[in-house]
Symmetry: D2
Subunit: 100 residues, 4 copies
Amino acid sequence: MSTTPGADGQAVIPRQVVNRLRRVEGQVRGITRMVEQDAYCIDVLTQVSAASRALQGVALLLLDEHMHHCLADASRAGEAIQAAKIREASEAITRLVRSS
Amino acid sequence: MSTTPGADGQAVIPRQVVNRLRRVEGQVRGITRMVEQDAYCIDVLTQVSAASRALQGVALLLLDEHMHHCLADASRAGEAIQAAKIREASEAITRLVRSS
Amino acid sequence: MSTTPGADGQAVIPRQVVNRLRRVEGQVRGITRMVEQDAYCIDVLTQVSAASRALQGVALLLLDEHMHHCLADASRAGEAIQAAKIREASEAITRLVRSS
Amino acid sequence: MSTTPGADGQAVIPRQVVNRLRRVEGQVRGITRMVEQDAYCIDVLTQVSAASRALQGVALLLLDEHMHHCLADASRAGEAIQAAKIREASEAITRLVRSS
């Protein structure tokens, strides 16, 4: 997932992905607390839907990033490698669509 | 979310929901680590799809639980309350389907 | 799916569902024509996403309708019947969420 | 969507897509008939879920096809065109994931 590095040398996209994942982790922890404190089911469900949507956003960001970098690189590595990379990305998209 | 209590007095379903949510939280933390360690995008995406599916499972369990308990209770509280509860559940289902 | 009948005696909701389904059918036929005329893949995909969303809307309308009528009726038929109806609805929601 | 042509000169993938779309169209028409004949909501919903899943399958097939052909071609057309094509595919994936 190498991308344009920011000022401190860490790639910009991974940092953004990490931040979003930490937020999702916090959301899930908050939902656990709600269930432990016997919160109303519908309120819990609303938060689960929000966390799902956030996780979906991370997946789409990762995929976009992957396509712009890895697929573009693969196209310079010859047709066989490119075909293999495209198959791999296509299978990841199928898993994502099926899971969401 | 009151349900049949287990031996120690804590309801069985919330405990199962809490366990599943803790597992999702661990999955998300693992994904964060993968991104920080610059894991291959496709492997990260596979884990995000798995976490999404697990979160969807929690939502379906909560909804099933809600319908069996809260909706059933509401039906004993009179038609107006029942109609309001059904509207509320129906809206939660819409949010869930739209987010997944 | 019996609902409040409109002026001509046909229930309002089924008529709305039928209209929406006919529109989805037309969308799918339009997509077939696009593919036959070798339209650009991305344009075809955009129409498939729109048809999917329309079909999802029909499902949510049917489910809402079902919950307001069949579940409400079931609650007057005794606890065992109500529990069976709720289980059935809950399974339908699972199939819907998993398919969408 | 040009692909390896079959014996009669028509590309293999589009023909497969057209066949699947015709089947989805038939499914949707069948669902309309069920609603008109006042079929049980849950049975209607089961068929809607099946049609949704079939439509999702068409989308994934189209996308896979697009990536193997259009993206691969784009990579031979220079970096700017490739980047534009990848952006376009990525946006189509987002619409697909959001609609499903």
